[in-house]
Amino acid sequence: MAHIELKNIKKSFGLVDVIKGVDLEIYSGEFMVFVGPSGCGKSTLLRLMAGLEDITSGEMTFDGTMVNALAPSKRGIAMVFQSYALYPHMTVYENMAFGMQLAKSDKDAIKKRVEKAAELLQISQYLGRLPKQLSGGQRQRVAIGRAIVRDPKVFLFDEPLSNLDAALRVATRLEIAKLHHAMNSATMVYVTHDQVEAMTLADRICVLRDGLIEQVGTPLELYENPQSLFVAGFIGSPKMNFLNGEIASKFGANTIGIRSEHIEITDRDGAWKGKVVHSENLGSDSYTYVDIGAGEPVIVREEGTSRHSPNDVISIAPIPTKIHRFDEAGKPLKH
């Protein structure tokens, strides 16, 4: 349990400002995901929380206690690294027990805790092995196990799934979600550049861009009410359709955004008419790219398989209430 507060946190490396003043509150027991494009400072922010980097200015508190100058080991945190960071010369058991052994804990207590964590992550049969004898997914589980054994108040995950292949990523993601349910008292902070991971895992998402917070909210809030063009474009897959110019000005905006599932293909005269560029059939649904003369083709989602072949001229209509309108600065306009 830890309530984390960041007040005007800044971090510079030499002349480069990486974090440019972040205010954020992370509630006790919450799963918070930092998401953003590479170079936005999300990993740096996490490392500041871990104490692996010094805060240049600002205040960071855990449960009201200032931790700016506290050593990582004294913050009650555990961290899972993208590269696992296991001790290569130690067995899985030793890797998980190392921290406790140094703290001179009771041997039986260590054993009990390691075995319990191993069981939770289904790595009990690998305890005697070296990291190099494990697959990537197993190694990452060991790294998570090592974090659990520390019994931390805060779990910090730094892109833990990035080194895994697609199938393992989904499986391990589920593992982490289960872990969050099982240890609902621990606060978890998770960094990723993958918005799908963010949407599926987070209680709340913090979208970062260029060292500043763009928007904080639940996955649905971000999806339904993006507070900027950037968030609108970043959250959701496929990307939200953006239309400028004449089409947008008809709606009284500089730019309008509409998600692919909020556009219908109609037999009647729709708002827009265009040529089909390409259709992607995914089985359960399909995405059709329609060129309506607005530069980028508009993506339209359909249930089931698409019946349209390239060069068909079709009529499409956006659901009016689902249109997001943005001004010149990329800020949303009220309806």
Binding site: L52, P72, S73, P88, H89, G99, G136
Partner: protein, 326 residues
């Protein structure tokens, strides 16, 4: 991971295709190795066999091609005197030889141990990030880059009892009360040799260990930070086990080098019994004393001693030459 997996797959599935592939690979490897093997046979194999052969003859410098086979007499020979006393002679009972063996081993063990420790410290410093690290890294290699003869001569002037800078410095600092004949005195000759050798070869050691240190992933240190491991413990529990393979290989290189040390001692302390090593004494017999066969026997024994020590070291230290445990 993938490499291991494929390697495993190849060795498990052994149908004809794999065998043929292996055959063609071995064939290609043989062709690539051949020039090297021929060169080695000419410059190393032949002289070695020739030396071993000479050691079983009574060859002298003046009769290189007319020596006669005398068996093990160069190594051990005995004559029973009229009085009934048996007198042993030969290399195995030669106190000068065993003195040289002892000198060599002492020199090798002390110099390599100190070089390892100092080299490790230097490597740790060079591994840290600081301004001008590149220049320091290059500068530290200078002693190693100077030819041994040159550095030995340079040090012999610095260590000179009358005009040497070291005596002058130590006298001024009050560390010594009278001038010391560093290289000439039996008490200090070995120390002098050790100082010069450590000065000269620590950079080599440091460089090899530094290469090992740079293989250690940085994230492991961050994990240790979060685990709250004391820096000293990090060194002994994390760094040292991870660079051990590199250190072991570096030590074996240096050990081989130290066991056959010649040039430094030949220049710095010629004819001092307290520093005479196996190489020095065998050269002396071969060329100065015209005991060519005897010198050959010493060379052969030197070869055997180094071979046995190396084999023992590799076996006991479980040294792996493929870059370590990871």
């Amino acid at each position: 991971m993938t490499v291991e997996a494929t390697a495993g797959a190849v060795s498990r599935t052994q149908p004809k295709i794999a065998n043929e592939l292996l055959k063609s690979r071995v064939g290609a490897a043989m062709w690539f190795l051949l020039p090297m093997l021929i060169a080695l046979a000419i410059v190393a194999g032949w002289p070695l066999l020739r030396t071993i052969y000479f050691s079983f003859t009574n060859t002298s410098l003046s009769s290189l091609y007319t020596g006669e086979w005398i068996g093990f007499k160069n190594y051990l020979n005995w004559t029973t005197l009229k009085s009934g006393r048996t007198v042993f002679s030969g290399l195995l009972v030669d106190p000068a030889w065993w003195n040289a063996v002892w000198n060599t081993v002492r020199f090798a063990v002390v110099s390599v141990s100190l070089e390892t420790v100092i080299g490790m410290i230097v490597a740790l410093v060079l591994n840290a990030e600081f301004k001008g690290r590149g220049i320091v890294r290059a500068a530290i290699l200078i002693p190693w880059a100077i030819p041994t003869i040159v550095s030995a001569k340079m040090w012999s002037w610095m260590l000179n009892d009358q005009f040497g800078i070291l005596n002058d410095l130590f006298l001024r600092l009050g560390l010594i009360s009278h001038k010391v004949a560093w290289t000439a005195s039996a008490d200090t000759a070995m120390t002098a040799v050790l100082i010069v050798d450590i000065w000269k070869t620590t950079p080599f050691m440091a460089l090899l260990i530094l290469a090992g240190l740079q293989m250690v992933p940085k994230d492991v240190y961050e994990a240790a930070k979060i685990d709250g491991v004391h820096p000293v413990k990090v060194f002994f529990k994390v760094t040292l086990p991870l660079v051990r393979p590199a250190v072991m290989v570096a030590v074996i290189f240096r050990l081989l080098d130290a066991m056959r040390i010649f040039d430094l001692i030949y220049v710095l302390t010629p004819n001092s019994a307290s520093t005479k090593t196996m190489s020095v004494i065998s050269r002396e017999n071969l060329f100065d004393f015209d005991k060519f066969a005897y010198g050959s026997a010493q060379s052969t024994l030197l070869f055997l001693i180094i071979a046995v020590m190396t084999a023992l070291y590799i076996w006991l230290g479980k040294v792996r030459f493929d870059g370590g445990d990871r």
